[in-house]
Symmetry: C2
Subunit: 359 residues, 2 copies
């Protein structure tokens, strides 16, 4: 019995956010290191949807333990184990064998297509590095987050971010980098139309593997996306919204096209998503220029990228589309931040239960 | 006044059927001659869904006149005029300037995705050639039908048909040919799940032009489809249903993928189509082999290709899918046939009205 000792171990708590990809990541050239076939570009979102993660390392813990939204997770196998590998990488860097207790909460539904894995893994990598006293650069941290979930590496930074595909087999040049910070083009918004909170039919990890293995159209997706990434970065730097919007819409459809071309097909879009696509198309046509761009991740939720001055018109265009349960207007956000210890999610109850299990 | 004389002109009436493509046609390399980027393969359907067309040529008619399902059509411009060009080709072959009266009826809704243009144009070409006393080979007739509507050329023949893409700029080697007749693999069925009879949002003609112009994935669609066409023909000849089914499903998704990759996107599939895709996937998985293949033309209706012995299982799998209004089980059919004059759709009322217009 040494309860007091365990409670004295420090917990570190961080908060981070998802990102919405302007140019998508779909397909790995290396499954273990999570190296993508193409570079991708995203906008980190503001904290109105976020993940909070508390991490504590201790030699006293018998095993690694993970709670998400108060439910203890099985991390002994499958995708959970693969995602958890980044903790081993961090332990190696810190020369420790201490086991980790991780408690994470999303303020939005997990696996609803709101990129909870990206914010969760980015925040975990950030908090765990702090807990181990590692002083890592954003580049190093993004490489570690990447090994938990590809798109998570982009949530290590704020504003508009590029994840360079890289070329080296060891993945050392496949990292996330800020294109511009969240103040550079402050007017950018993501109007999110929540369409469904059902769990996804196919996980992104399994789905993209299937696409790479079976889609004949995927053969040229990487070069197309690489081109789109270059155009998107250029459009962001020049604040050319019309060009950015076209690239965002083209790339979203391009990714969902190779998903459909997968055998058996992967379909995340539904009738509501299609109605949103046509509504935005009609809005842009009526305005005579691109005032908005739809984009869909691996889920039916619609993300409408627009500028503050046009956000109201976008919300009006979405208004009355059957099947939309809620609309959120999100700004750009920064990378993960450390919260005060009073925000820790590691309760005495959880520590006690771990202790009981051990005794 | 010479009413009697006009009524003496002979009318010719033919009946023909749509075809369902196993490997799809989507994209022209020549818009005027309707030359495709890839070969396609189809099954001509039995007459339970059909088009009946009556044609009469007369020097007495002031202009060409077309009725579809009792409605007089405007053929002075647009797609209707382009489709009508095949009548000019036939007139040139027959060395006549006589104008045509054409009355056509589908026993299924026009533009519902049941390929009414294919059966309509094939039947028109066939009846018009008869009315002009032209003795054309099936190859010649398919080339003429092709100029009205690409996929119509395949409905000139029965059974399993290939439309060779051809290479010559004049289109003389882009024709339909029977792979095997309707008796060779008699057990093949098309179980059609009627999903919607709404008019299509985008016509195939306009849609495929847009795809060729804007989809980056389309760059490799022709070579993929050409490969699929070869596999499908081989599978038909060898009665290898498993291989045929995989090719049919892959090609359908491949076409709808390049449609989605079009800018702005073209989406014909809806939630019901997706439910059908998953139901067939589950059926095949449960059986441990491909017993059925879904395929979708430019519409939401599902065509499930299967064999007679498995058709009941397919109907059971479709049973209870919300959004399916009706299920048809179709066999293979032959090419267009000439009907007796008692089946003519050209009534005295129509002739009278044309005559009145002229006087």
């Amino acid at each position: 019995m040494n309860k007091e000792r365990i409670r004295e171990e420090a917990s570190y708590t961080a908060r981070g956010q998802p990102n919405i990809a302007f140019v998508k990541y779909w397909g790995k050239r290396d499954e273990r290191l999570i190296l993508p076939y193409n570079s991708s570009v995203s906008m980190t979102l503001d904290p109105s949807i976020n993940t909070t993660t508390s991490v504590m390392f201790s030699e006293k813990f018998k095993e690694d333990t993970l709670y998400i939204n108060r439910d203890r997770q099985d991390i002994s196998g499958g995708e959970a184990k693969e995602r958890f590998a980044l903790i081993n990488t961090l332990r190696e860097l810190a020369h420790t064998d201490a086991k980790a207790l991780i408690v994470s909460e999303n303020n939005f539904p997990t696996a609803s297509g709101l990129a909870s894995s990206a914010s969760g893994i980015a925040t975990l990598a950030y908090a765990a590095a702090e807990a181990l006293g590692l002083e890592l650069s954003e580049k190093e941290l993004s490489i570690i987050a990447r090994q938990g979930s590809g798109s998570a590496c982009r949530s290590i930074l704020g504003g508009i971010v590029v994840w360079h595909r890289g070329e080296k087999p060891d993945g050392s040049d496949s990292f996330a980098e800020q294109v511009v910070n969240e103040g550079y083009w402050e007017e950018l918004r993501d109007v999110v139309a929540i369409v469904s909170t059902d769990k996804k039919r196919v996980s992104s990890r399994a789905g993209m593997k299937q696409t790479v293995a079976t889609s004949l159209l995927y053969r040229i997706r990487p070069q197309i996306a690489e081109e789109y990434a270059g155009v998107a970065i250029d459009a962001v730097k020049n604040k050319d919204f019309g060009r950015l919007a076209e690239t965002i819409m083209r790339d979203s459809s391009n990714m969902h096209a190779v998903m459909l071309d997968t055998y058996p097909p992967i379909v995340y879009l539904n009738d509501v998503s299609v109605r949103v696509m046509y509504a935005i198309y009609e809005l842009n046509k009526a305005e005579g220029r691109n005032v908005a761009a739809y984009t869909f991740d691996a889920g039916a939720n619609a993300h409408i990228i627009t500028l503050e001055k046009d956000a109201e018109r976008v919300e009006e265009a979405l208004d009355g589309i059957e099947g939309i349960s809620r609309i959120l207007k999100l700004h750009q956000g920064g990378g993960p931040v450390l919260l005060g210890s009073e925000k820790s999610l590691i309760s005495n109850e959880i520590l006690d239960s771990l202790y009981q299990a051990r005794s």
